[in-house]
């Protein structure tokens, strides 16, 4: 395929993926917005007013970056996991496999589509948060870079999950048993300074801690960890996951006999 054909096929993939989650917006865009509104009301307003400040910032403002990031992570991941697995289940993945599209275009199409949903939901949650608090964006470029990289990383993760999945249950195991605990324990609701020293060290192996803190640094200018290290770690994970997903796709893992 020449460059123009590659761009057309990639655009086709992305449009198809975006069309899918927009078509089912009551399942994809509305629920996370409602869930996050509940978090803002209960944790931010009701409980947060008794918690007071954290690092000199109101508790409501402190949890907003974490909740936005939580939405981005779960939606990017679950979008690609369920979309690609549905394609496998309905065998429409064969439409792509019989075409001359290279595997990297197929992967990029799903990943960009997943990131688009994650970022879309993140934007909706950000808008909702503005009804509850005021946000000063300290480092706009860094904020954007962290959120986009995180969305891409978890989209690739969702793709790998879907490739390996044999039944619908298999695409909900990782989000429920891995992503949710890591997100809740990744400093969304608290600073790791509040933890005993031992648990602070344990928390440092949680990759989501780095993403939440880097994002919080971009918005609020505060972080529990060095931000440059977080960016390098996210970039390294993106490269490693991308290579793994592409290798599996080239091998036909989970899709070819």
């Amino acid at each position: 395929m020449n460059t123009r054909q590659l761009l057309i096929s990639l655009w086709t993939m992305v449009v198809k993926e975006v069309r899918r989650f927009v078509r089912i917006w009551p399942q994809t865009l509305v629920p996370p917005s409602i869930t996050m509104t509940m978090y803002f009301i209960i944790f931010g307003n009701l409980i947060g007013s008794r918690v007071g400040e954290m690092h000199g910032i109101s508790y409501m403002s402190y949890i907003v970056p974490g909740l936005i990031m939580m939405s981005v992570i779960t939606n990017s991941y679950s979008n690609v996991a369920s979309s690609f697995f549905s394609n496998k289940f309905q065998r429409s993945v064969e439409e792509m496999m019989v075409s001359p599209m290279p595997n990297w275009v197929i992967l990029a199409g799903f990943v960009i589509g997943g990131a688009a949903r994650g970022l879309g939901v993140g934007l909706i949650v950000t808008v909702v948060s503005l009804f509850f608090t005021h946000l000063d964006l300290h480092h706009p470029f860094l904020t954007l870079m962290v959120v986009v990289m995180t969305a891409l990383l978890f989209s690739i993760g969702g793709f790998i999950n879907a490739l390996l999945a044999k039944k619908f249950d298999d695409i909900s195991i990782i989000p429920i048993f891995v992503l949710t605990p890591l997100t809740y324990l990744g400093g969304v609701f608290y600073s790791i300074d509040l933890l005993p020293e031992f648990w602070q060290k344990v928390t440092m192996i949680n990759p989501i801690l780095y993403m939440v803190n880097a994002f919080r640094y971009g918005i609020l200018g505060i972080s529990d960890i060095p931000v440059s290290g977080a960016l390098i770690a996210i970039a390294a994970f993106i490269v490693a996951f991308w290579c793994l997903a592409l290798w599996m796709l080239n091998r036909g893992k989970g899709i070819r006999s």
Partner: protein
């Protein structure tokens, strides 16, 4: 001499469970041909076609599409290939037009070129009125036609039709035959057809290969194959009921019921002899027809031979994995 549309040499497939679905088959399909690939369930048809269109990984052998080795440049070979699979394989929730246009996009076709082509295909296949509806709302026959439109959107030179008329009513099946004949004759598209309707293969195809238990057991022209048929059986509808089958010298006669006889006629036998003998015995025949399609008689005799395969008891013993491929 033009390269064959499809050339297969020594194609072998051994599944993970050790089942040998293809045992080194050779096959050529010439450009412009309408070619039938027949075989009982689990014989290796879908595995063969799955390898050609990259849904199944081969174990060994060589596949060339218009001279392009799929191991060297599969992407280029895929441009020449259109596939209509056995099972519906599109998103049931997408709109009909989007399914066809998306496929065009996968081939890198610009929208301004894809849109009019899509419109023409959907109109030709009687789907234009349904273009804005979700694919799941279509009838079974419409879904099959949708897959044909999708397969043709990028103007393939070789079209693979894997049981395209399964579950389609007779009227629609015949209109689909006409359409397939038209794209073969007028547009020069080479077609490979697998089907369980042997009448369909006999009516449409010029050349044929029969595959059984992973081996090609026959590869010849349709006309040549039909001349091999040495016995045909006709059903005779009688004017008056008969208690027993009459004796007809030189022919085998079986009483089907009081109003019907089955007459077996060997190749080269004069059918008039049979009617003269029946007339002498006062048996009046109102009408006659073949008991089975001629190709069907040959097919059954070839694929039911116990030594046609190698060591596997039944042609239907293929694991589900193969048919799912």
């Amino acid at each position: 001499m033009a390269e064959p549309a499809l050339s297969i040499r020594g194609l072998t497939k051994v599944y993970g469970n050790g089942f040998e679905a293809l045992k080194g088959i050779d096959l050529d399909v010439e450009q412009g041909d309408f070619f039938a690939l027949l075989g009982p369930n689990g014989a290796g048809k879908s595995t063969t076609l799955g390898i050609v269109c990259s849904l199944v990984q081969k174990t060994a052998g060589q596949v060339k599409i218009f001279g392009i080795d799929i191991d060297r440049d599969f992407a280029k070979a895929k441009y020449a290939l259109g596939v209509v699979p056995q099972e519906f394989n599109f998103s049931q929730f997408e709109k009909v037009e989007d399914i066809v246009l998306t496929q065009a996009g996968y081939y890198g076709m610009p929208m301004k070129e894809a849109k009019p082509r899509c419109e023409r295909l959907l109109k030709d296949l009687g789907l234009w009125d349904k273009r804005n509806g979700a694919a799941r709302m279509l009838s079974g026959g419409m879904k099959r036609r949708l897959m044909i439109a999708r397969a043709l959107i990028h103007r393939p030179r070789l079209l693979i039709l894997d049981e395209p008329t399964a579950g389609v009513d007779i009227e629609l099946r015949r209109s689909m035959w006409e359409y397939m004949r038209r794209i073969n004759e007028e547009e020069g598209t080479s077609i490979i057809l697998t089907t369980h309707y042997l009448e369909e293969a006999e009516s449409l195809c010029r050349n044929i290969a029969i595959i059984n238990r992973g081996e090609i057991i026959k590869n010849t022209s349709m006309r040549g194959l039909l001349t091999e048929l040495d016995t045909e059986t006709f059903l005779l509808d009688l004017a008056e009921p008969l208690e027993a089958a009459p004796q007809v010298e030189g022919f085998e006669v079986e009483r089907v019921d009081a109003h019907q006889l089955a007459l077996s006629v060997r190749k080269g036998t004069d059918l008039n002899d049979a009617f003269q003998q029946l007339t002498r015995q006062g048996v009046r025949v109102l009408s006659m027809r073949n008991r089975a399609n001629r190709l069907e008689e040959l097919f059954v005799s070839m694929t039911s031979q116990p030594d046609a395969g190698s060591g596997i008891d039944s042609a239907t013993s293929t694991p589900a994995k193969e048919t799912a491929s």
